[in-house]
Subunit: 283 residues, 3 copies
């Protein structure tokens, strides 16, 4: 299912995630509110913000804090100099404890429901690579500023032998055209920043992280003259279809994921994959 | 809910509507059929074609006339030199008579069902500003020519503390991309003519009203060689989803609107809003 | 229903189809697999690959062969130097044997379900005109390379007094924007290659048939590093809505078509149409 060449091709995103399993120290999310009342959430699970249960849980809690404290909006960014988020942590899926992996998945669903359906404005300051789950997080926001350069963004699940869930696809179709989404999803397309801008996967280029955060804040300040309640209801109404789908189908979506990770062939593939990563690391 | 600064920002569209409450004389819609059998419907409720019950009712009746007399198509335009339509008349919502405001809303629904789902070709010659309900009317047509210049168009309901109903949103998503629609609806974006052309909110620029009407007629003449029945069924089939939604949910949609206008906070906001308009008028 | 002028306007696509009724010799589909395991299906029903029952049946069987033999993908093209496919064969609809015309329609449905929902990658090398059903076949693939030049492509059913079925429309909306699809479907728009490229109806221009086939194969080779199962499930998930619709509504869709072809007015129109073709042929 995973030919080695494709494993090698994706190593650059996932190697650090594998290495980092025991390196977690300090808070996984930094929440800072500026004088204008805009919250910046910085993912800081070195080295590449692989989304494991703990990081997702911390992200969900931070979004709750923002909601309770009525921040004017949220900018989501990363403490890594080169990676926004490497996506879901493969190690959550390898030889999983079923109870934990189920919580992992339902926590991912909750984070998405909170972020994609939030009352407050959201923007992603994408200061590095954003494959798979990293791309999903940024697309769940309402605006995306990405640092120009060698970084890539996309839902490249098929390159890892994974089928993106329907709500990942819906999130992409909320951002770019159906045609572009189909092409990108089937070919595991990673867009460079120019390509991403052209199809609308990102909204604006930034020179560096600071510029990206500033542009996100400028977007959020667009809502100064807008009734917050009308804004929130409008956003939730236009995003209602994907939100309603997941709310209605959470159990089925979780079951599909659990079936997937318990498939012996998937576990074999992950085994091969992780061995390849170890060999690469050893060099 | 309506900070004063946003009230001031939107005064340019709504002041005249407020003033015009007692100024209505003559037919509210002029219906003229040219030698080619194309009907031009001109909204003429000075000064800015605010959509009150009487104007909507006259528009609905004019659409029925067109339908009965089998015109080749309809061009919708305005007698105002600067405004296509300022949108729904705020005065219909302020201290409303419940019976009248319910009729107001159901009449708006009927006009939309007739226009968006019409058998005959429809085009809007947008010869001035087209905010909110004005934008909705133009998007319900099949083609839009807009006079170049300082005019703006968009669904800016959130700037007035209003949530556009689902069928307003669906009408916008029938015209521009989901992404552009979400951004425009949440930020209350008013597009200038170049921006509107770029995202596809309008189809072509015109030098003046006469040129806009001509371009609309040229569009309608494209159907000379097309079977009218096949054309009508094709249009209604591709527009079926939003049409069916409103037909199935008219009662619920009306109830939502009635709840909204009877909310004391909404009435307070309208009060403040109208006072601000009066102060502005008095200067 | 069919004014003569529109009949004449469409003669260039359909005349040869009419003439060819008794000219069929040899296999209607050529299936050739190259050294890379990519299958090329060449429609060869001279002169213009009008889609009659036999051609559709042969195409369906060829798609089954590809599926069984696990080809890496399919390139669909034409043996005609100027026409990809002229669309559905009018003669299947004229004075039809009800049993045969029903099989004709259900076979068309099956071919679409196989092609639009295939496991394997699909691409169309469009080496000539592709009106109506010809356009449908190409849009059902995942990629389109079209030979630059005087060729046109589009769903021009309304020009023939026909309403494209919902799944034709859905297939177009999977490829281009809703707005472009509505405009194209109602106006019977035939896009030249530059226009088709601009709206995304095709993906790339080709200098000739050989170049078109090469570009299609290059697209299919993009999947070399992608898990075939993940790819297939991803494609089928993003295309699920139109596929599910037809599967659930096949009977109703067939009944609508049978009612249409048995309508005396439709038969009168076809009669006039075919007479016009004969007169044109006689000149």
């Amino acid at each position: 299912m995973f030919p080695l060449r494709q494993v090698i091709a994706t190593v650059r995103y996932t190697t650090p995630a594998f290495r980092s399993m025991s390196a977690s120290t300090g808070p996984l999310i930094d929440l800072a509110v500026d004088n204008d009342g805009i919250a910046t959430l910085t993912m800081q699970r070195p080295p590449v913000n692989s989304l494991n249960l703990e990081l997702l849980d911390a992200l969900g809690k931070a979004l709750d804090d923002v909601s309770k404290n009525k921040s004017r909006g949220v900018v989501l960014t990363s403490s890594s100099p080169t990676v926004f988020s490497a996506g879901l942590d493969i190690m959550e899926m390898y030889k999983p404890d079923i109870k934990r992996v189920e919580t992992f998945w339902t926590t991912l669903q909750e984070v998405w429901l909170k972020l994609f359906g939030s009352n407050y404005p959201t923007a992603a300051a994408i200061n590095g690579h954003a494959p798979a789950g990293g791309c999903l997080l940024s697309m769940s926001c309402e605006y995306r500023a990405m640092v120009t350069g060698k970084y890539n963004i996309g839902l490249n699940e098929t390159a890892l032998g994974i089928v993106a869930p329907k709500w990942f696809m819906d999130t992409m179709c909320n951002t770019i055209s159906k045609r572009e989404a189909e092409y990108a999803l089937t070919t595991a397309r990673m867009f460079n920043t120019d390509e991403a801008l052209k199809v609308g996967l990102i909204d604006v280029l930034a020179t560096d992280k600071s510029d990206a955060v500033d542009k996100c804040k400028k977007f959020i300040k667009k809502f100064d003259k807008i009734s917050p309640i009308a804004r929130a209801l409008t956003k939730q109404k236009i995003r209602a279809e994907p939100l309603t789908w997941l709310i209605k189908n959470r159990k089925q979506d979780t079951d599909e994921f659990l079936t997937f990770v318990q498939n012996p062939k998937v576990q074999q593939s992950l085994e091969l994959y992780i061995q390849a990563l170890k060999q690469k690391s050893a060099k």
